[in-house]
């Protein structure tokens, strides 16, 4: 005797569907179209089949950029997650310090990407930047324009500065939801500071940590603006991540076919890795 649902509701979704079609589906199809064709200008296209895909997948330039991406995301997660947890644990849970800390923590998140890039670009300059100038003044040979290692450090520190707050705020939200009784019980049970963290705080932060890790992974894997502004992918190709490489290929060299194939592969990699992350962490969660 089931009555059917009111299907009129679907009409309400129609404008949104059209919008998504124009903004995402059609461009995506265009990219797919480019990826299997070759052009020599004049709007003439030739069928290229999977040639671009095999080219991209076998090119060492792509491999290097991919490795850089993986290394970057890995290092970012290794620094930002523990650091974020550590800061969240040490934030006050009540009192006048709370709003102050929260605002302070949110500040970096409010700054646009390219502004962050510009800030650090200037901050690290050897000639006029406070950081670069001071370090050199102290005898540290720091120059992100010439030294690949310095360039990496700059980009990493910049990302940590920009995004650790996100992890902090998510963890903090998890922490404040723990009732006082848990801490009191742990005190009475004679638990050490580490036990409290390991058996009360960490389990309660589990879910928000999953979200934090996922967000930070996806974001860092797609990083573009900040290194582009600061280092422009250099020195050499030292900080040329997939996204920067992609833009170089598409706009710099105007190789539309390879660029299209590359962006599809890039897209699939992100999708796959995010899915693996999510599945692994969800299963762990269910088991724990």
């Amino acid at each position: 005797m089931d009555k059917s649902w009111n299907n009129k509701a679907w009409f309400m979704v129609l404008p949104m569907l059209l919008l998504v079609a124009f903004s995402a589906v059609i461009p995506l199809m265009t990219v797919v179209n480019y990826s299997v064709q070759d052009t020599f200008g004049n709007n003439q296209f030739f069928w290229a089949g999977t040639a671009w895909f095999s080219d991209v997948l076998s090119s060492s330039r792509f491999h290097d950029a991919l490795l850089r991406n993986l290394a970057f995301s890995g290092i970012i997660l290794l620094i930002e997650v523990p650091l974020g947890i550590f800061i969240a644990l040490n934030m006050p849970r009540r009192g006048i310090g709370v709003p102050f800390c929260l605002v302070f923590m949110s500040l970096p998140l409010l700054i646009p990407w390219n502004v962050v890039g510009t800030i650090w670009q200037v901050f690290g300059r050897v000639d006029i930047g406070l950081l670069g100038y001071t370090l050199n003044g102290l005898g540290v040979d720091y120059n992100y324009v010439n030294d690949p290692f310095d360039a990496w450090v700059t980009v990493l520190v910049m990302d940590v500065w920009h995004w650790t707050s996100l992890v902090v705020l998510l963890c903090y939200a998890g922490l404040v939801s723990i009732p006082d009784a848990y801490y009191q019980a742990a005190k009475i049970d004679g638990a050490s500071r580490f036990s409290v963290f390991r058996y009360i705080q960490l389990p309660k932060m589990n879910r928000v940590l999953l979200i934090a890790v996922l967000l930070r992974f996806m974001d860092s894997f797609m990083i573009y603006t900040e290194p582009f502004v600061v280092t422009g992918g250099g020195p050499g190709n030292a900080t040329t991540f997939l996204s920067i490489d992609l833009v170089k290929t598409a706009i710099g060299q105007f190789d539309l076919g390879p660029a299209a194939a590359m962006s599809l592969i890039y897209f699939l990699i992100i999708l796959l890795l995010s899915w693996v992350f999510y599945t692994v962490m969800i299963t762990n969660d269910a088991k724990g």
Partner: protein, 358 residues
Amino acid sequence: MLELDTVSKVSNGEAHISDVSLRLESGSLNVLLGPTLSGKTSLMRIMAGLDRPTRGRVLSDGRDVTGEAVQKRNVAMVYQQFINYPAMTVYENIASPLRIAGADTATIEREVARAAELLRLGPYLQRTPLNLSGGQQQRTALARAIVKKAGLVLLDEPLANLDYKLREELRAELPKIFSESGAIFVYATTEPSEALLLGGRTATLSQGRVTQFGSTIDVFREPVDLVTAQTFSDPPMNLLPMEKRQGLFVKPGMRDIAVPAGLTELADGPCTLGFRPHNLSLRPAPGTTPIPARVMVTEITGSESYVHLIHEDQRWVMLTMGIHDIDADEALEVHLDTQHLLVFDRDGRTVRARTTGA
């Protein structure tokens, strides 16, 4: 009148409600009694229209309202948590359903005053809910449900978070408030004593099924089966497995008990006797039979004592008048009043519940 016609609710492959049919009359007070997770809240959500049943129909005054959204139905709900608008005064909280309905100022003033008087909220009308005690907050939520003049008022364990004595007071007031409006009231609770104090009609729930529905005192006195009897017992019902052999209940180590007259339907073989704590006593009386038991622990409530007993593998509770501080592990004989027995057959169905006043 609200009618549930063989309603079932399955979600994620789990049956929350199975084949529930109920008829709730206008102006009636209906108690849903069952332990946590027995399906009380699920059933209320279906009644309210918050959830759509997987199978079955919901009829309101004969009209099929299955799947009709809650906004279209005239329903009020009060929850275990005290839910009020924190930024509004008590007055505005109570007035809110009237304002939404577009009532004029005079009506609002009259209705709020009436509800406030009924729930004794008069002195607090200009306060905000956060400056009230738990009892006053819940009264505010109740008052809001009352002014809404809903045809169906659903109360989901509304007193569970209140102090014992406050609960007692509100519980006494609620039936009066109910009887003044013509609405159908549905009241969910886990506590048998609360159902008894509220009166009205009771539906006992167990694992998503309604095991019995009838006038509260009848369901208590004459449960149709063992599950209902256990659901509607606090302290838990005492059970004694025995074997029926012709006119006698027999068990090794115990005196035979005569099968009450008129129990013709019961076949010979294993069966279960059920009795309530006050049907056991320390001293023999006419119509009692002695049973050996061991004392686990004694609880004294002031005028009475609850003696927790072990009889073979059964845990029993005996309620006796007066203070009896019996030592733990003491073996003794308790005396069972055989006039007030419930007899369950091997399938757990009541063979004959005693008649009132017997």
